[in-house]
């Protein structure tokens, strides 16, 4: 979104050096989305548009409450509705607020080739600095949650900022402020985890035996967490990944391949240089010229 105080970066995309990290004492924050308390009113979705001043194109009714159909450069959070038949044959209406999870180990940031285009602050928020974004779409490939969207207008990638601008001045994210039921809470990650524990206990007491907190370890935990009544199968909530992790292809691409490839290219060049030092140039000798000439002249004479 926008560049905030650079002293609290803990990660910075495409950077081989340690980012400024003088202020490491900051509390990690988290947004807790309690799907069991969500009524699907989309106040959060509107508030997100309002605060971030986003106006998507008016689309078409697609036969579903999901509107628009998918995240896009102007839709950083989206209510996803699922009609799910439970084991007893009853209908459950599952509503999930989709958006960036603010991973502790962000795949987008790992994949990003533009220095400083994606940063993570000490409080855990993962933010896009559009100014440095080159529009390659690598973050889209890196993200295990399929969140970032590259704008066809300005070729910059966009996603939820967790209202980093508001959080940095002590306000809660706009969606949290707008939610009428308290389904979205915001605070320190430890407070939110504790609060989620109470909510999970209550859901269990009401018969949701598999209720639980979604804070997936595969990405090191997230700074947006869900309370799910069916935490044993997250994917029923409109495809929330069961075991999200950075794809092994992305891991390889951004892990071993980069240094090995650079070393390989450097070695090839160095090998050439030293070959030339050791073996010397391959020069055409005067007798070669004489032989070549003679061969041609013989032919000319025979003509």
């Amino acid at each position: 979104m926008s560049e905030l105080q650079s002293q609290d970066y803990i990660r910075r995309s495409a950077s081989t050096l340690t980012p400024p990290s003088a202020r490491r004492h900051e509390q990690e924050v988290a947004k807790l989305i309690d799907v069991s308390r969500c009524i699907g009113c989309k106040a959060c979705q509107s508030a997100c548009m309002e605060w971030n001043d986003l106006r998507g194109e008016v689309g078409h009714f697609e036969g579903s409450y999901d509107n628009p159909k998918d995240l896009d450069p102007n839709t950083w959070t989206l209510m996803r509705f699922t009609e799910w038949e439970n084991d007893k044959g009853d209908l459950e209406w599952l509503i999930r607020k989709d958006g960036c999870m603010h991973c502790e180990d962000p795949g987008c940031l790992k994949a990003c080739p533009a220095p400083g285009a994606i940063v993570q602050y000490a409080n855990g928020i993962v933010d896009f600095n559009s100014d440095a974004c080159i529009g390659c779409g690598y973050c889209v490939k890196g993200c295990p949650f399929d969140i970032p969207r590259v704008s066809p207008v300005d070729h910059k990638s966009y996603k939820c900022t967790l209202c980093s601008d508001r959080v940095s001045v002590g306000l809660e994210p706009a969606c949290v402020k707008a939610c009428p039921t308290g389904a979205i809470m915001f605070g320190s990650k430890s407070d939110m985890t504790a609060w989620a524990g109470e909510r999970v206990a209550e859901l269990k007491s009401r018969g949701f035996a598999d209720a639980g907190l979604y804070d997936p370890a595969g990405v090191g935990g997230t700074h947006v967490m869900y309370v799910l009544h069916h935490a044993d199968r997250p994917s029923i909530y409109a495809g929330l990944p069961d075991r999200p992790a950075i794809s092994p292809f992305v891991g390889l691409w951004k892990g071993a391949v980069k240094p090995l490839a650079v070393a390989g290219i450097a070695l090839a060049a160095i090998a050439g240089f030293f070959h030339s030092v050791v073996a010397g140039p391959n020069e055409v000798e005067p007798e070669d010229e004489a032989n070549g000439r003679r061969l041609l002249d013989q032919q000319d004479d025979a003509r």
């Binding site: 390659c136 490839a261 290219i265 020069e283 055409v284 013989q298």
Partner: protein, 221 residues
């Protein structure tokens, strides 16, 4: 025309133009690709007017490269067919690297090393094209599943590194074997160069009297 009348014509002008277009495209692709490949090379994006421009222009240069290399393939695939002489030549590769010409089999128009570069690029450039199309976000970003894109970008970087390594070998060979660059800058080589490095080819040229390597008079193509 700066060709020496004493010399042997090795490449027609159209071939050399085709080659240099390919070479320029390849160098630009390497510079712009590496800028996006590793942070230590990101500064190269400045050569293209910044990161956004680098990202935008790279695939288009790639298309130009594919078209241009197709031209070289059309001209040279016959001469690059592998034969037994090439296998024999490869067996003597240690001697060749040590600059010892004794005991190395005579070579036709292209040696096994040149053929290797040719076929490696025949493999790698289309691989770069297809993987590159999959990850071309502006036009094709939404057309393939994310898994396909993740694999494609990995393969694209593998193929690019391989192509760059092949290219370094190619350029080095051209510098190390003195007198070769002339074939691409002016189109001709000295009879001695042809004798030393492509003797079979020179014999063949000498045998075919009419189209042979007649010492060219100024102005004739």
């Amino acid at each position: 025309m700066s060709r020496s009348p004493e010399n042997v014509v090795r490449y027609a002008t159209v071939t050399r133009v085709n080659h240099w277009i390919t070479a320029i495209c390849f160098v630009l692709l390497t510079l712009s690709g590496l800028a996006m490949f590793h942070p230590i090379f990101f500064f190269l994006s400045a050569l293209f007017g910044g990161g956004q421009w680098t990202r935008a222009v790279h695939p288009w240069i790639g298309i130009a490269l594919v078209a241009s290399y197709a031209g070289l393939v059309a001209q040279f695939w016959r001469e690059n067919m592998w034969n037994q002489d090439d296998t024999a030549w490869v067996r003597k590769f240690d001697l060749i690297l040590q600059n010892q010409e004794e005991g190395v089999p005579e070579v036709g128009q292209f040696n096994a090393g040149q053929k290797f570069v040719f076929w490696a690029m025949v493999l790698l450039i289309p691989a770069l094209l297809f993987t590159g199309l999959v990850i071309w976000e502006v036009y094709f970003g939404g057309l393939t599943p994310l898994l396909a894109q993740r694999i494609a970008v990995l393969l694209h970087s593998f193929a690019a590194i391989a192509a760059i390594a092949v290219w370094i070998t190619h350029v080095y060979a051209g510098i190390w074997v003195r007198g070769s660059l002339r074939a691409m800058t002016r189109g001709d080589v000295t009879p001695g160069w042809a004798w030393r490095h492509h003797r079979k080819w020179l014999r063949e040229l000498a045998r075919r009297k009419s189209s042979g390597p007649q010492p060219r008079a100024e102005g004739t193509p």
